[in-house]
Assembly symmetry: C2
Homo-oligomer: 183 residues x 2
């Protein structure tokens, strides 16, 4: 199973994220959880989120970058779902060994993410918050898929990224399956 946790505060208004999501959503055994659709009132069902994670070998976090990290509802999801004694700490090994794929779109171009650009830091400076959230839970952090300039990049380019995204998830799911069968 692949658990794709999707967090776009305005899913209807998204173009880049919708194209990427549509490129992968029919992969077999992939479950899309669109947080802002499921929990418009922020009342996260922790048990069902944890159950979805438990059944997955591969966890995908897909969202637009909001204030240099995950949107508020996804941050709230981290706070509630990745609980002590379940995801970390004494007895907290539920996510150990799962793969974590981060898929993120940004509004600025690559130059904007530099010491002289409008975002003042390079993009890598904002990665540790997300990466260490995954790694502290014992997940294996994969090379992120980052789409800069999401408002300007062409549909064609987005579809190309979408194809690579799809290939990567299928390949990772296959590997994970083989590990289960032969491991």
């Amino acid at each position: 199973m692949i658990d794709l946790v999707f967090a776009h505060p305005y899913p209807k208004r998204s173009r880049a994220n919708r194209i990427l999501l549509n490129a992968v959503r029919d992969i077999s055994n992939l479950d899309v959880r669109s947080l802002y659709d499921i929990y418009p009132d922020f009342g996260i069902d922790v048990e069902s989120e944890q159950a979805a994670l438990l059944s997955a070998k591969l966890v995908v976090w897909q969202h637009p970058l909001y204030w240099y990290t995950a949107p508020g509802l996804m941050k709230h999801w981290f706070d509630k779902v990745l609980a002590r004694g379940w995801a970390y700490g004494e007895g907290g090994s539920a996510l150990h060994g799962k793969l974590c794929q981060w898929v993120v779109t940004t509004g600025g171009d690559q130059e904007a993410y530099s010491a002289t650009g409008m975002h003042a830091f390079n993009f890598e400076s904002f990665v540790p918050v997300m990466r260490q959230t995954a790694e502290f839970c014992g997940m294996k952090w994969l090379e992120p898929i980052v789409v800069h300039n999401a408002h300007r990049v062409s549909d064609k380019e987005l579809h190309a990224v979408g194809r690579d995204y799809r290939k990567k998830l299928i390949s990772l799911a296959t590997e994970a399956q083989e590990l289960v069968v032969h491991g």
Copy 2:
């Protein structure tokens, strides 16, 4: 005015943050907005939050570190309150020139925040998300007040940090006032 935005998901269970907050809450012209008390349902009143920010020269963000950054409700507050056209972008200059003081407690000791520690990164690696949120809005980022090991540090030490915190806010508020009078 000082606008102190406080975000503790379990304010009643906090010890370190309560001691720090009690050290400053009676400073004149300081307004404490305890987000989890005011908005238990995450329904942030954007207009009143923006009004509180507008009237302040000094903005304080105080919270425990949750998954290496602000708790979910404070992240949601960033997403909603720091709106395009108000806090940034075309016409978005509401916060320009205000001072931003980050006050954060963590559960790990300093050693935990290192390449060989349980959090794998040094603490500074997690700062850019918060810092650039302030600076992108044109606020002046001050040296953060960081209390590591918040569950273990003694009340006495916390009261000492609280006294320094109080002194710093009063001094900053005075400076800001002088800038208004003489600037």
